[in-house]
Symmetry: C2
Subunit: 456 residues, 2 copies
């Protein structure tokens, strides 16, 4: 690998392109501009498309009708940093605090640390570097390429769908490739044929007109923070099974061959326990950790708040409290239907004496594709060439890439999910990381993939 590939990835990681934070809008835009300049320098015809949110970058080589057309997708936006403040003299805890600042990338022991290193800058940029190498050596690519890099993946890609619809003809392609998922272990080529969907909602409970003194009024009015707790506690039974009526109605059962294949993966329960650092595994009875994550739906609290948050105590009944929820969905659950069911359940369980408001958020459908299709087999061959020496793993993933379904619906193309991140990549958490070896493997993957797909 040319040193310049890594240097350029460093430059890309230095942009704090946090899409959810309005204060970072200019940083997100500067990041997009940098990508445009890089792709133009490779000789690709590159356009920056503004949206009502963050811009979309589209690049292409000169298309020739006799070649297949491959769309490679990635995103340049990243998750917030969200690091708790450290007290003076408190040592950095790598589980809570960034060892090196999130936007000052650094390689330690062969691993690159920084926000976006795995999700998704490191992964999509490996493809860009693969394209650069092929173009430098051959002056052209073996396929018609469309490279589409968006800036709103972490906030639901809301402007991508209208963009795809508006540019449907220009974006027509035979298939789509995305590296935004994971490998089951270092060096193990991994093909992902399923993803969970997502359905977000936020609940807000209000009570008294103002924070009240909990001595002067406590006992006579309902406490909104307690009401939020009771609402959340109503969602599961004690074993973690969701008790929202109808929640599991559309869930497709696991196939026997999947349970069998997954049981041989190195990601057994003990490995999941070790990676998460949780005191114990916890979840629905009758499923392994992988089965719970890859093939079972969830309702999770992502954030919870209300009342006094500071040091010490403040004896109030808070006027309001909130919880941010996301459901992870599996085939054949529909985000809108699930939100409606959770909403109805919460409304039915709202305690007296408070007002409940539910704000539906972004949603994305689950995805399942056939790993035995010709393009699936070609992609698996490219993965084996990029990561020789280990058996290929056929997996689903627990995360959501809602746009995979959007691509299928609007462009009519299937997506190949060719993940490069490791299970301990700390995506969405402090000390997100990506091994340099995986970045290098990603560059090899891009080159092999275009060759294999050109021959399919």
């Amino acid at each position: 690998m040319a040193d310049s590939h890594l240097d350029e990835l460093f430059a890309l990681l230095r942009f704090p392109s946090v899409s959810t934070d309005p204060a970072r809008k200019a940083d997100v835009a500067r990041c997009a501009d940098w990508i445009v300049a890089k792709l133009r320098a490779l000789g690709l015809k590159t356009m920056l498309h503004p949206t009502a949110g963050h811009p979309i970058v589209v690049a292409r080589n000169t298309h020739r009708p006799e070649r297949r057309t491959v769309l490679i997708y990635g995103h340049y936006d990243v998750q917030p940093v969200d690091e708790p403040e450290r007290a003076p003299g408190e040592p950095a805890d790598p589980n809570k605090h960034w060892i090196t600042p999130p936007f000052a990338p650094e390689v330690r022991d062969g691993v690159l640390y920084g926000r976006g290193s795995a999700d998704n800058k490191g992964q999509f940029f490996a493809h860009v570097c693969g394209l650069a190498e092929t173009l430098r050596e051959h002056g052209d690519l073996p396929v018609n390429l469309i490279l589409l890099i968006e800036g709103e993946e972490e906030i639901g890609s809301s402007h991508l769908e209208p963009f795809l619809t508006a540019h449907r003809d220009d974006l027509r392609c035979d298939l789509i490739a995305i590296s935004d998922t994971g490998m089951v272990a270092p060096g193990v080529p991994t093909f992902t044929y399923g993803l969970r969907g997502i359905a977000a909602l936020e609940l807000r409970v209000t009570g008294p007109a103002s924070d009240l003194h909990s001595g002067i009024y406590g006992g006579a009015v309902a406490n909104p923070a307690m009401a939020v707790a009771r609402l959340l506690a109503s969602l599961h039974d004690a074993q973690g099974h969701v008790v929202v009526p109808g929640f599991y109605d559309e869930v497709a059962p696991l196939a026997e061959w999947e349970r069998e294949a997954w049981s041989h993966l190195p990601l057994h329960d003990a490995a999941v326990l070790q990676i998460t650092g949780a005191p114990a595994l916890f979840g629905e009875a009758g499923y392994t950790a992988l089965e719970r994550i890859w093939a079972r739906p969830t309702v999770e609290v992502n954030g919870l708040g209300g009342g006094f948050q500071g040091v010490g105590s403040k004896t109030v009944i808070p006027r309001e409290a909130f919880a941010k929820l996301t459901c992870r969905l599996v085939p054949n659950q529909e985000p809108a239907a699930i939100v409606a069911k959770v909403q109805a359940h919460l409304a039915a369980h709202c305690p007296p004496g408070v007002h409940l408001e539910i704000l539906p958020g972004h949603g994305g459908q689950p995805y399942l594709t056939d790993p035995r299709s010709p393009d699936g087999r070609a992609a698996q061959q490219a993965l084996r060439r990029a990561f020789p020496g280990s058996d290929l793993a056929l997996i689903r993933e627990g995360g959501s890439i809602p746009i995979v379904n959007t691509f299928k619906r609007i462009l009519g193309a299937e997506t190949l999910l060719l993940g490069l991140a490791l299970p301990d990549c700390r995506a969405h958490a402090p000390n997100e990381n990506f091994p340099v070896a995986n970045f290098e493997g990603g560059i090899r993957l891009n080159r092999a993939l275009l060759e294999e797909l050109a021959a399919t």
Copy 2:
């Protein structure tokens, strides 16, 4: 009233003496210094006593053995401001935001607004102004006076008890008077013969070693925010009755004369509903709002937090979550025993897959005194003189003044609770306020009280 009394109260209110905030330590100290200078200027022998926390101010006149000794207590520390940030252009909501800054006092329509105006600077300073008037007119007071003003009432008065023990002989007195409670309605002289106690605890739940991606791991590990919700929801039944085993074992039932007397007070349920602005009243069946507040114990969440708190969404399983709880206690509940019961209940209800840590906080016993004692009757007569024209109300209160029991135990003296704040004073909330008329009445009360007690 001399204008200078109000001017001086303004100066006192300008100190941001927030005792719970380590960053305000110097402001708290400056406030104490100002009080010392004021009391010395009145000719009282005044000492500033440092503690490991905030200092205690003690002032006295020249004591003569033939006179009774009265200790007047107050506190110069205040609650935090804790105002949510306003979005650009968002109008100020008086239930959430300060209309004028908390430490820039202002009189509007005869009402003084500012943090500490009611709790407790405005109330104790009315006594100081009463002393000033008596001293100016007569050159002496009718009793031996001890004025004790502390700076840690809002954080549990932890250094007051060792101080009382160390200075027990110097502080010996016949009785204690405190204005840190309320009047049932404007102009209604109100004698408080009971207070609730308090027992604080904080619970912290930890799970995975780091925030986890809720897609990549959701379903396989327990969510600490959900665990906190389930723990809180385990504390009450659906009607708000506490289900912690043994919680009500020591609760003294309401006397029939109390229920009868309280039923005639202007603070009926509709008034409590109106003052709180809650959508409805809520609490234990079989009790009026006043009975719930004054004579029944509670468990309240004062603060709740975990996971993503910002704008937008962040799909994590948080590594930890917390809740700050306080119980309000009634005779004859003991704080330590209640904390132990709540702690045992929470430990028994902790869901699997997480670690629960419980941090006991400050505590204070409930208080009940006999309103028909000679000193009780003298105080009631002083209240009638200060606020003529309305029948006197005999009440309990829902708040806690733990040091009332400490005084009784260490100094052997009963406490007279002579409240001056109104029900809508917004203590502990934005736009805390105190009518100028009540401040003036408090000055009259101090003068009448010392006369009545001298003659008892």
